[in-house]
């Protein structure tokens, strides 16, 4: 067998060399204004992507061949692991995830450099320089301090295996999704930095930057949602979001990117907020790298501490340099960036974008502050103060409710300025829906303020979105029927707007899930003998029997339970505990969840412990209403993203030409 370690090292070394070459080419092209050199730099980017692909494949072969002379393979896999999981072990540790990041970035860079050159010859060399600087840094770290191809002098007969918390199908997609998300904010950053370096702004460049930002935001959304799903199904505490530092830092770039996507609309349509949007792009990447720094350095205590490592200082320097350089560039160019068009009135769409940005950034600032605060107290007074979920519940939840309110009203307003009457006309339906729902809820005896308010706002958002969707569909159908032709596709008219309404709808459904599960959960712990049951929230969970199965490397104990409601059995649940060889001190839970219909309660059971004879078990039972709406809302959200992103033909003939070419087509 060829030596994988040598092959991997060589590939990474050459890739590093090429990234340096690429930087030199692109920088020379930028400074000397020789666009031909930028073309060479573009080719270097493609070569680099190929080399990194080879490096990733090499490491995968190492995993599949169980080559435990590679330290990373020995540390993160074992022969007992199934193939899918073995590949996923690639991002189960720091070196591997760094390799994954750099590989994904190289592919994104290769595509982005091509796009840059087709769009603007003059700006492209600057953008490519920035992209290659990132690659030089990450490849440098990979080659010199944190190589996944370290040789073990004595290869162990068996690998250590993967952290059992990560033995889950979520493990196969959540981490690479988040890594890709974090990484992909680098591309719009390069676009923005190119504008600043060159001191010139062009609309096509801004549009391309927005598309990359949209992509990064979509990937980050997927990463966050999968993370929530993973936490809910695997961590076994019945939550999907705990304001844990590692979760917080993943949320930060998402918040800023969401703010950006809204103000970018005002930038495109009305030329407003130009400097501001560019600032947001820069900030989002700085936060993304800060996020990886936090995950990788272990500076903040968190449940994700299995990712501790020694490359923290390097990342710290990288974040600091990124922040200092981009901030000073930004301030230096600020006079040229300012947009000439002022915001006109508060009752206008663009003012809504400003308010949206104010709220989202306030949430981001609060989250950032709360995340780093324990570190500050440790430095200042030597002991750590914990900033936990109660803090975020008190500060962020009101802000999130305000975001819902904004979502309900402002999308319905017109651009520029609206009269009071027109405002009332366009917003009365959602307002009436909100008032009707809050009245109903209070009549039903609900008295908790925040849930009532936010549920009513959700109703308003849904009403407003449906109204708009209906209107657009109606218009689309009318256009289709029109003898003059028009698009056959009823959605083609204003796909971006429609798609974003669908995304809003997804967020509203998601919010309803959050309201239900955070405000109305019930929890109990019980020790049950065979045949006994525990009552909670109208359900009875009865213990039937205990089973155990053993395969090499893994022992599983499963409790079989029956859930009944009003004496009718509605589900069988089988929570389990797994003990992996080599990780005996870390047994993991297989949570059992069942959603009842039509109440939409999740019955969530964790097996805590059991009697050796199998005659009794201790369980934690939670009833979590509406959690299913989180995942449904997530799906709707991504459906909306697809509607926005669905490729449209680049050039579109005027409708009269189309109908002339295809006579008789409606």
């Amino acid at each position: 067998m060829p030596d994988l370690i040598d092959a991997g090292r060589l590939t990474l070394g050459v890739a590093f060399g090429i990234s340096v070459l690429q930087l030199i080419l692109a920088a020379t092209a930028a400074v000397r204004r020789v666009p031909e050199l930028a073309v060479s730099a573009r080719n270097a980017a493609s070569v680099q992507a190929s080399l990194l692909t080879i490096a990733v494949v090499t490491l995968c072969i190492g995993f599949l061949a169980r080559d435990f002379s590679i330290a990373f393979v020995a540390d993160h896999s074992s022969s007992a692991m199934p193939v899918g999981l073995t590949i996923a072990a690639l991002w189960g540790g720091q070196e591997g995830s760094l390799l994954f990041w750099t590989w994904a970035m190289s592919i994104f860079s290769a595509v982005a450099t091509r796009r840059m050159l087709t769009i603007d010859n003059g700006l492209a060399p600057h953008g490519i320089s920035v992209l290659s600087t990132f690659q030089v840094f990450f490849l440098g770290v990979l080659v010199f301090t944190s190589s996944p191809f370290q040789r073990l002098l004595v290869a162990p007969a068996e690998g250590r295996g993967l952290n059992p918390l990560l033995w889950d199908s979520g493990m196969q997609i959540h981490p690479p999704m988040l890594l890709t998300g974090y990484m992909s904010f680098g591309v719009p950053f390069a676009f923005a930095a190119a504008l600043l370096l060159a001191g010139r702004i062009t609309q096509p460049w801004l549009r391309e930057m927005r598309n990359w930002m949209f992509l990064a935001w979509a990937v980050q959304s997927a990463g966050l949602l999968l993370g929530a799903w993973w936490a809910y199904r695997v961590l076994g505490w019945g939550g999907y979001w705990g304001w844990d530092p590692v979760e917080n830092v993943a949320l930060l770039p998402w918040l800023v990117a969401t703010a950006y996507l809204h103000s970018a609309l005002a930038q495109e349509r009305r030329g407003q907020l130009r400097a501001w949007t560019i600032g947001l792009v820069l900030l989002s990447y700085a936060l993304a790298v800060f996020g990886t720094f936090v995950v990788r350095s272990g500076v903040l205590s968190s449940v994700h501490s299995f990712a501790l490592s020694d490359i923290g200082p390097l990342f710290f320097i990288f974040v600091a340099a990124l922040l200092i350089i981009s901030t000073s560039l930004f301030l230096y160019r600020l006079p040229q960036l300012r947009s000439p068009v002022p915001i006109t009135a508060i009752a206008s769409k663009e003012a809504g974008f400003l308010l949206n940005n104010l709220l989202l950034l306030s949430i981001a600032v609060t989250t950032f502050w709360g995340t780093i605060f324990p570190m500050i107290t440790e430095i200042l007074q030597g002991s750590r103060i914990t900033v936990g979920p109660p803090f975020y519940a008190q500060v962020n939840v009101p802000l999130l409710v305000a975001v819902l309110g904004l979502m309900a009203i402002w999308p319905l307003l017109a651009w520029r300025r609206t009269s009071l009457r027109a405002t009332w006309r366009s917003t009365r339906t959602p307002l009436i829906a909100a008032i009707a729902l809050s009245g109903t809820l209070m009549a039903l005896g609900m008295r908790n303020g925040i849930p009532i308010l936010s549920a009513s706002l959700v109703a308003a958002v849904v009403a407003g979105v449906s109204l708009e969707l209906g209107r657009s569909l109606h218009g689309g159908i009318r256009r289709r029927k029109h003898p003059d032709g028009g698009s056959r596709n009823i959605f083609a008219g204003d796909r971006r707007r429609l798609g974003s309404y669908v995304v809003h709808l997804g967020v509203a459904i998601f919010a309803l899930g959050v309201i239900g599960s955070s405000g109305f959960s019930q929890e109990t712990a019980a020790t049950l003998a065979r045949g006994e049951d525990v009552q909670i929230g109208g359900y009875a969970v009865a213990f039937e029997n205990l089973e155990s199965t053993v395969v090499p490397g893994l022992a599983t104990v499963t409790a079989n339970l029956t859930v009944t409601r009003n004496d009718t059995p509605i589900a069988k649940l089988s929570p389990a505990r797994r003990i992996h060889t080599g990780w005996e001190t870390q047994p993991t839970s297989d949570v059992a969840v069942s959603t009842s219909t039509p109440q939409l309660d999740d019955i969530y059971v964790v097996l805590s412990s059991w009697d050796t004879s199998g005659s009794s078990v201790s369980l934690r039972v939670l009833v979590k209403p509406l959690v299913i709406l989180l995942w449904i809302g997530g799906l709707v959200y991504f459906a909306g993203i697809l509607v926005v992103a669905w490729p449209t033909p680049q050039t579109r003939l005027p409708s009269s030409v189309v109908s002339a070419a295809k006579p008789g087509t409606p």
Binding site: V365, F373, T386, P389, F391, L546, A555, T585, S609
Partner: protein, 161 residues
């Protein structure tokens, strides 16, 4: 036979980590249990990174939950119980940062940031009002802009996406 041995081994491993016999002897009283979970939610489990006493299955967390139940049954208030744990395990055990001393800064920080944001925003609106008043003569051009906006075929805006 091997099965029983395995169950035994696994159980032994778990006994070290887990000893949730909480409800068997402890809170028969549902109201007290409910209050216990609320309090446990606000306490950080000192031995498990980033989990609350409510969420954690660690032995210490289970013990702390039992302590809460005992103290509730003895008539202690939530504040007293929180204070008890803060004295015993340090202020880091409180998930809700106190509103005094250095920790006050964590509460004030966001308020200051939001205040700055609001001031900035009001500034933007004020400036735009001035600008609008300054160029009253430009009314016509903005009217034309409106007409242009209206006449724009809607499908043009998705060209770039």
């Amino acid at each position: 036979m091997t099965r029983i041995i395995w169950v035994g081994i696994v159980s032994l491993a778990l006994v070290v980590l887990d000893s949730s016999s909480l409800l068997a002897d402890g809170a028969s009283d549902l109201a007290i249990e409910k209050r216990m979970w609320v309090i446990a939610e606000d306490l950080d489990c000192p031995v498990c990174e980033g989990q609350s006493v409510r969420e954690s299955n660690a032995a210490l967390a289970v013990q702390m939950r039992n302590t809460i139940v005992a103290k509730l049954q003895a008539g202690h208030s939530k504040d007293q119980i929180m204070q008890f744990f803060a004295d015993r395990y340090g202020p880091g055990v409180l998930r809700n940062p106190p509103r005094d001393g250095l920790a006050l800064a964590v509460w004030i920080g966001p308020l200051i940031a939001m205040g700055c944001g609001v001031v900035l925003l009001l500034g933007v609106f004020a400036r735009s009002k001035q600008a609008a008043q300054a160029q009253k003569g430009a009314d016509l051009s903005s009217y034309e802009q409106v007409v242009k906006d209206i006449q724009k075929p809607p499908r043009r805006s998705d060209k770039s996406s």
